[in-house]
Amino acid sequence: MRPFEYVSVSNAEEAVKALAAAAPNGKPVAGCTDLLVEIKHEASSAETLVDISQLEELRGIELTDQGLRIGASVTHTEIMDSDLVAEHAPALQDAAHTIGAVQTRTLGTLAGNLVTCVPSMDSGPTLMALEATVNILGSKGTRSSSMEELFVFVRKTSLEADEIITDIVVPTKNLKKPTVFHKFGLRKGQALALVNAAGSLHVKDGKMTDVRISLGAVAPVVIRCLKAEAHLEGKSADDAQVLNEAAEIALSETSPIDDFRASKAYRNELIKILTKRCIEQSIALSQK
């Protein structure tokens, strides 16, 4: 591998300082499961790697007055093993389980998955459907961001060169909300999503409310299907027809591509099927 600097820090503030000093070619690293691959393939200009994987303040999963807080450096395996996540946002565990394989899940972190920002990221749809926010620390201080604001383009987030995500928060109002995640890949493990999807809703008096649909791998970034959501909002949860319509509308909000993994036509079918599945199963969850 080509040479680079490796910086060990004791806290998040130091990490920010180190990134600011190394800008624009500094990168925070945790699991390295993507960045090291990029470096090995000579597709990254990173010259200084600032290790935030072991910082206590970026770890841990807890309930706060904001909601369910997951530290930036919490690994996918830790999410899968967490009783808190199981109780309050189990769809996040389903999503975490679809990432790579056990070795990459042990190393990879939730924030790492978000900042790598590939269209097929598996943590994105569920967090977006749950209206999660990220807390960000930089030289200028702290700020919060929605998922939509965070994801700018393929491999590009809104983070400045000296900013790191400190935590991810699922808001209190969406804890225990019926939410389902589905990923379709060419294999059950070690596979990128051809399409992934999350659906989240309540059913009140037989009507769907607070419908949220998020799709990945169908546009440059993970997206919300606002029109499909609006179509379902307030409608009867028993209406199969309206669900089919919503699936078609969701499709119209996407722009999947042909690539060596799948054709656009195949992805179009997956979009409709996974959207429906997520909504149907969320409805079923709401009735439990």
């Binding site: 490796y6 090291l36 691959v37 470096i39 056990v102 990459t104």
Partner: protein
């Protein structure tokens, strides 16, 4: 940079450039060639070791990240006269052919049984999903792990 890592119970030191991976340190600095390089990008699992007891791709762990931590590699699992039960059952089940994927598979299986001593067949497949094998088709590895788990269970009972 200077690093100190506890490897298979013993503290080891190395002086390596920052871009060195744990796999490279194990193989080239410390002569522990049991962990293999199959892809260098975390796809094949041939480099699987346990870092603080958890299975990781050593090719994706930087030397600096291993500093001060605990590593268990295949060399630390058993010796010719004192095989780890996994190593023994892989022998009797003929679970390995060319053997190149073997250390990685065994470490992943070890991590599984440490965490979940009574796995389902699905659990075993999930735990080994990050270890590619081109020779065997995996069935005898899975059989071996399931049988070992069953033996452990009946012994404990």
């Amino acid at each position: 940079m200077e690093i100190k890592v506890t490897v298979n119970g013993a503290e080891k030191a190395a002086s390596v450039p920052p871009e060195t991976t744990l796999l490279s340190v194990l193989r080239e600095q410390w002569g522990m060639t049991g962990s293999k390089s199959g892809c260098e990008v975390g796809d094949c699992g041939a480099c699987t070791v346990l870092l603080d007891g958890k299975p990781v791709n050593a090719c994706l762990v930087l030397a600096g990240q291993a500093n001060g931590r605990d590593v268990l590699s295949i060399e630390g699992l058993g010796t010719p006269n004192n095989l780890d039960p996994l190593q023994k059952i892989f022998e009797t089940h003929a679970s390995l052919q060319c053997g190149f994927c073997g250390p990685g598979v065994i470490m992943s299986a070890k991590a599984l049984l440490n965490k979940n001593p009574d796995p389902t067949r699905h659990d075993v497949r999930d735990a080994l999903a990050g270890n590619l094998c081109r020779c065997t088709g995996y069935v005898k590895m899975i059989d071996a792990v399931m049988e070992l788990a069953a033996n452990n269970k009946s012994e404990a009972a």
